[in-house]
């Protein structure tokens, strides 16, 4: 009996084109659009060496400290910060006017910066100059009080940068994580379909099935197995497309990624089943509710605005803990960035608990074998 129901339900789900569009094609199309939209955003994040000019005046030539600092940051290598053109003030002004440089520096003898507009490059130049000025003041002060201590000051690193991250930081990844979360939650449409086809007061097909000599819960579990298979396969196809087609880096913890997807699918399906069992309205209305809820959850998980996830976590942490989309997104995030699995398993645990709760509520509503009206 299991095989019979499982195979037939699988056929029904595969052949439902509307369902297939929402649960598979729509996330794939959206992912492709994300990739196209973020292509420029990612390239904007790659640091480009900044073109600046230094005015050749006597103050510059005589200030060995500043000259040395400029030489350090314009030296070829991975730490190169500026392309420096040493020129006259007039020429520097011309270069700035034509947009060839982001700003120019002149000394009189104070260090001065001239820029035409404000932006990232200008901020970097200013930060560099501010650092220089601060260090110059410190060195001058130390030299005045205790010249021997200057060597210690120059060599000592007071802070050490330790990265928590395993992966390369990439803010666009969160969009794709939230997208997978949305796709997992779109499994709710499959859950809705299963309940519609098993509750006699929701469809005539279900009423006919209720007349068969088979327990309703058995039927439900058999059908749900087919649903989970289809939904999980769709998510794996989406993951494959993201990973191999769009070259999205998910790290290398395949087992945990698959586990997260599986739990995500279960959460999505059970959520749809619960909504379908609770709301005794037509399928169209229930589908609309599911779309609205999953979209809202995905939005709060950062699918449309990446900072939203952090805003919710900071201001409404409880909402972040009960939002399945946020939990799935965070699961991917923690797998990619963290060395420890602690945060990942917290997400898995809460998702499992939510799924259990959704199943329990569904059971309470569908366990009754008779209906008040048909």
């Amino acid at each position: 009996m299991f095989k019979h129901i499982f195979i037939t339900r699988t056929k029904c789900l595969i052949r439902d084109k509307r369902l297939l569009f929402w649960t598979l094609m729509f996330p794939i199309v959206l992912a492709t659009l994300f990739k196209v939209a973020f292509a420029n955003l990612s390239s904007a994040e790659v640091f480009k060496i900044i073109d600046i000019a230094v005015v050749l005046k006597e103050d510059y030539s005589t200030n060995q400290g500043f000259k040395g600092a400029i030489e350090q940051v314009s030296k070829e290598g991975p730490n190169k910060l500026f392309n420096v053109t040493a020129t006259s003030e007039k020429n520097a002004e011309e270069l700035l006017k034509n947009g060839k440089i982001s700003g120019y520096i002149y000394l009189n003898p104070e260090v001065n910066l001239v820029v035409k507009s404000s932006g990232l490059n200008q901020t970097i130049i200013k930060t560099f100059l501010d650092n220089y000025k601060e260090n110059a003041i410190n060195i001058a002060a130390i030299m005045k009080v205790n010249p021997k201590a200057i060597t210690t000051y120059l060599k000592k690193d007071y802070t050490k940068e330790i990265s928590l991250y395993k992966g390369q930081p990439d803010t666009t990844l969160n969009y794709f994580y939230a997208l997978i979360a949305m796709a997992c939650l779109y499994g709710s449409f499959l859950g809705l379909k299963e309940i519609t086809d098993i509750q006699g007061d929701l469809s005539k097909r279900a009423a006919r099935i209720n007349m068969a000599p088979i327990r309703k819960m058995k039927m439900f579990i058999y059908s749900l197995s087919a649903t989970l298979l289809i939904d999980f396969t769709e998510i794996l196809i989406l993951l494959g497309y993201l990973s191999f087609g769009l070259k999205i880096d998910f790290g290398n913890q395949l087992f945990f990624i698959v586990l997260l997807c599986l739990i995500g699918c279960i959460t999505g399906i059970s959520f749809g089943a619960m909504i379908s069992a609770i709301i005794k309205k037509n399928e169209g209305l229930k589908s609309s509710i599911l779309i609205a809820v999953t979209m809202l959850e995905s939005f709060l998980a950062g699918m449309m605005y990446v900072n939203m996830k952090y805003i919710v976590e900071k201001n409404m942490p409880l909402l972040a803990y009960i939002n399945p989309a946020a939990l799935i997104t965070d699961g991917f995030y923690s797998l990619y960035y963290y060395n420890s699995h602690q945060r990942f398993f917290i997400n898995i645990f809460i998702l499992s608990a939510l799924s259990l709760l959704f199943c329990l509520i569904t059971y309470i509503f569908i366990r009754r074998p008779q209906y008040a009206s048909l």
Partner: protein, 310 residues
């Protein structure tokens, strides 16, 4: 008794849908449930099938109490719902196979049964069609095949011919007769009295959730005063003549509207002769004349005071 319903009461809030309904269906018969829309036929069927909760009463099928968990009873029941209940995503064959498979585990046996069901409803040429490609009549036939493929002992058909073309309707009715000939007991609900007259061995007429009459079609017709209905085409018939006609002992009721005289004659012999004598003695000329025996609609009309198709 295959089905015994005793004092069945079902309420929808204030509305009393079934009012102490009593029914008994004998083995091997085609039992008709006749009544206008809203008379409680479908509610009664859904209660019998234990799909609907009911407030009071007892339902026995195959001499065992029927309930939602009565799987031993359900095994032998086939249901054809009023609305088509098939999967749009499955072909004709797959639909029949799926529903049959909920009753029959053996794949080889199931294959034979599905083939027989396809033959039975004459859908062999459409096995690979999806339901949306079928006409209304073919869809109804598929709906029936899904309900009877597992060869049930008791088949319940709830208005299976609604919105069906005459050819398909004929096909369906012939099929039901064949199922009955093969040994199945049938409960057939409809508001088409012609179908009931053509098909059913015994008939229960329902109105407002109650059985208002029960028996064979002849027994039902015998319950009423109407012997025959005589209709004449008369171009000039005075009110005085109509009054005198209504006073005849054999006439139950006569009416004259737009050149048509309709006489509802009481049971008795020579009704037609007496009417003709009445017209002759008064030199009243008439055109067409014909006589009809009472129908179930007349039975319903006399018992409830309203037309069956109201």
């Amino acid at each position: 008794m295959i089905v015994k319903v005793t004092n069945l009461v079902k309420r929808y809030g204030e509305l009393l849908a079934l009012d102490h309904l009593n029914l008994e269906v004998k083995e091997g018969e085609i039992f008709g449930l006749l009544g206008p829309n809203g008379s409680g036929k479908s509610t009664a069927i859904n209660c019998i099938l234990s799909l609907l909760k009911y407030d009071k009463g007892e339902i026995m099928i195959f001499n065992k109490p029927m309930g939602p968990d009565a799987y031993e009873i359900k095994k032998y029941i086939g249901v054809v719902m009023q609305d088509v209940a098939v999967f749009e995503e499955l072909t004709v064959y797959e639909n029949i196979d799926y529903f049959c498979g909920l009753y029959i585990n053996d794949k080889i046996k199931r294959k034979t049964l599905v083939e027989e069901a396809l033959d039975f409803v004459a859908l062999k040429d459409y096995t690979k069609f999806y339901p949306k490609k079928l006409s209304g009549g073919l869809l109804r036939r598929l709906n029936i095949a899904c309900g009877i493929a597992h060869k049930p002992k008791l088949i319940i058909l709830d208005e299976p011919t609604v919105a069906v073309d005459p050819q398909s309707r004929n096909n369906i009715l012939t099929g039901i007769k064949r199922l009955n000939d093969q040994g199945a007991t049938i409960i057939y609900t409809t508001h088409y009295m012609e179908e009931v007259e053509q098909l059913c061995d015994r008939i229960a007429i329902l109105d407002k959730g109650k059985t208002v009459a029960l028996g064979t079609k002849d027994e039902l017709k015998a319950m009423i005063n109407l012997g025959e209905k005589i209709t004449l085409e008369i171009f000039n018939f005075s009110p005085k003549a109509l009054e005198e006609l209504n006073e005849l002992p054999t006439v139950d009721n006569a009416s004259y509207i737009e050149s048509t005289l309709v006489i509802r004659a009481k049971k008795g012999k020579n009704n037609m002769v007496r009417i003709l004598e009445f017209l002759n003695t008064r030199d009243i000329e008439f055109g067409k004349i014909y006589s009809e025996l009472p129908t179930l609609n007349d039975v319903f009309l006399e018992i409830t005071g309203k037309e069956l198709r109201d």
